[in-house]
Amino acid sequence: MKVRPLDFEKPIVDLERQLEELKKHSKLQGVDLEHEVAAMERKIEATRKQIYENLKAWERVQVARHEQRPFALDYLSLAFTDFTELHGDRLFGDDHAMPCGLASLGNYRCAVVSHQKGRGTKENIHRNFGSAHPEGYRKALRVMRLGAKFSLPIVALIDTPGAYPGVGAEERHISESIAVNLREMMLFPVPIVAVVIGEGGSGGALGIGVADRVLMLENAYYSVISPEGCAAILWRHRSHAPEAAEALKLTARDLKELNVIDQTIEEPLGGAHLDHEKAAANFKTAVLQQLDELNKKSKKLLLEERYQKFRAMGQVLEG
């Protein structure tokens, strides 16, 4: 699979081209350039490291949106076993932007809810670009209720640009479908772990994001509004998205500092899209560790700590 480079990766692309030249030259001319090739490979890795260690918020958003990034169903096949998808909200329809079902992670039988984006136009239309309708949130609620009923921990994989802004979504009360999930997730007496694997787009992300532990992949973002939307409102033009991304503090590092998330999951160097297996392995290790910890708690403690976790969010001044 040829990986599409991002704009800020140009230095890497240039070096990779030079490496190709070297290899071609060596082959054509029959010269031994083994040392030069090795040095160039080291240089590429060093450059990649240098770039990825200093990613700006807006650049991370690009990585989070990379269409070759592992999506929810990739984690479901690579990190989980025995995924059985459960379809439909039993009210209106089956939202393909939110696959939900039963799956095992290590020794844990889980209820899983997720957002799923597509690769390419056809698949993206099928998945509605990962933007869910009310029936998606209501299906997730139904499956989470199964989790609560059968004492299965709940794992939520968040990856959406936002809930869908459309006529049908409004007619079927997208707001209500999200709000009810926020309230109900607070009361499920089973461990809940939510992981932002790519895009954490506003209320659409939070709609399956009330959890005992909220994790984020290193290059994922989680934001109250898209950087473009924020720029349009507060800078009066979308072209200011890079500044908006910086100001919104939407990266895993910033959100850990603000206590909005609990843990960052490391990605393979150069982003999760370069190595799905490694990303899934890191995901699995992190989630299992959280489930092990949560599993030791009594239901009462679990619910009290979940309440206090969200209760503490925000900063105010007593005047």
């Binding site: 936002g162 809930a163 869908y164 802004p165 459309g166 006529v167 979504a169 409004e170 007619e171 079927r172 009360h173 997208i174 707001s175 209500e176 999200i178 709000a179 009810v180 926020l182 309230r183 109900e184 607070m186 009361l187 506003s202 209320g203 939070l206 709609g207 994001g209 009330v210 989680y222 934001s223 109250v224 509004i225 898209s226 939307g229 924020c230 409102i233 507060l234 800078w235 009066r236 200011h240 500044e243 908006a244 100001a247 919104l248 503090k249 939407l250 959100l255 603000l258 909005v260 309440y307 969200f310 209760r311 969010m313 925000g314 900063q315 105010v316 001044l317 007593e318 005047g319």
Partner: protein, 280 residues
């Protein structure tokens, strides 16, 4: 997705500015010129076409709560510019100017009071303060009110209006949706009633949290209610919006709103509902 600007009304809001400041107002719906005194006496409802003008939090409390029974909470709770947000205007500056303009510290007033003799907890959002967007202060005040209501066994009434989450507070504003809903979950566990009164406009993050969770959901006539803004929907879907889209009447037809209540009838309707659902 939060909507920040005031949604434009059908007739355009610039008409109002042509009128002499202070004494008279032109109804944006029917064009009737109304004296301010008459408008106030009529609870800011147009006597000709029934258009409901924006009501401030103080006006709302005076209208609903039994005289001299309102005990306000957390009056001096302030939002903080945690992210040091500087776009075209800085958040601190905007907060300062709205505090001056409205005499409020933030976009919601909360407290305990009596409604037709019933002890209740009340929160009223004020659209005049930064489009009543929800930041940490709004979320915290509503959460504290609900928690106090839970402890005291009181029904809660929230009169909403909001442009959504307060973008300037980034993710901390989004998390207020979870925080307020969590407090309501506990209030509901004790089988205490919760009433929502939607007023013009209630949208986005507030709509997708406590404004949608009422045991009973009321709305003022013709108010705009939605998750996404109409412009965003049009741009995303390239679709014409149905007539009356995102109005209280539209949402009632689609099964969301229990009762549409004219402002002059709100107090009696709420009193009757509170009385009916209160424990004896």
């Amino acid at each position: 997705m939060p909507i920040f600007q005031k949604p434009t009304l059908k007739q355009g809001t610039n008409r109002k500015r042509e009128m002499p400041e202070g004494l008279w107002q032109k109804c944006p719906e029917c064009g009737e010129v109304i004296h301010n005194l008459e408008l106030s006496q009529n609870l800011k409802v147009c006597p000709k076409c029934d258009y409901h003008f924006t009501f401030s939090a103080r006006e709302r409390i005076n209208n609903l709560i039994d005289e001299a029974t309102f005990e306000e909470f957390d009056q001096n709770l302030l939002s903080v510019d945690v992210l040091k947000f500087t776009g075209v205007a800085s958040y601190s500056e905007r907060l300062e100017s709205y505090r001056e303009k409205t005499g409020l510290k933030d976009a919601v007033v909360t407290g305990f009071g009596r409604l037709g003799g019933h002890d209740i907890g009340l929160a009223v959002m004020d659209f005049n303060f930064l489009a009543a967007t929800m930041g940490s202060a709004v979320g915290e005040k509503i959460t504290r009110l609900v928690e106090r209501g839970t402890k005291a066994g009181r029904p809660i009434i929230v009169v909403t209006a909001s442009g959504g989450a307060r973008v300037y507070e980034g993710m901390l504003s989004l998390m207020q949706m979870a925080k307020t809903s969590a407090a309501l979950a506990r209030h509901a566990q004790l089988r205490l009633p919760y009433f929502v009164v939607l007023t013009n406009p209630t949208t986005a993050g507030v709509m997708a949290s406590f404004a949608s969770l009422g045991d009973i959901i009321l709305a003022e006539p013709k108010c705009m209610i939605g998750f996404a803004g109409p412009r965003v929907i049009r741009e995303t879907t390239h679709q014409d919006l149905p007539p009356g889209f995102q109005t209280a009447e539209f949402l009632q037809r689609h099964g969301f709103i229990d009762i549409i209540v004219r402002r002059p009838d709100l107090r009696t309707t709420l009193t009757r509902l509170v009385s009916h659902l209160s424990s004896r």
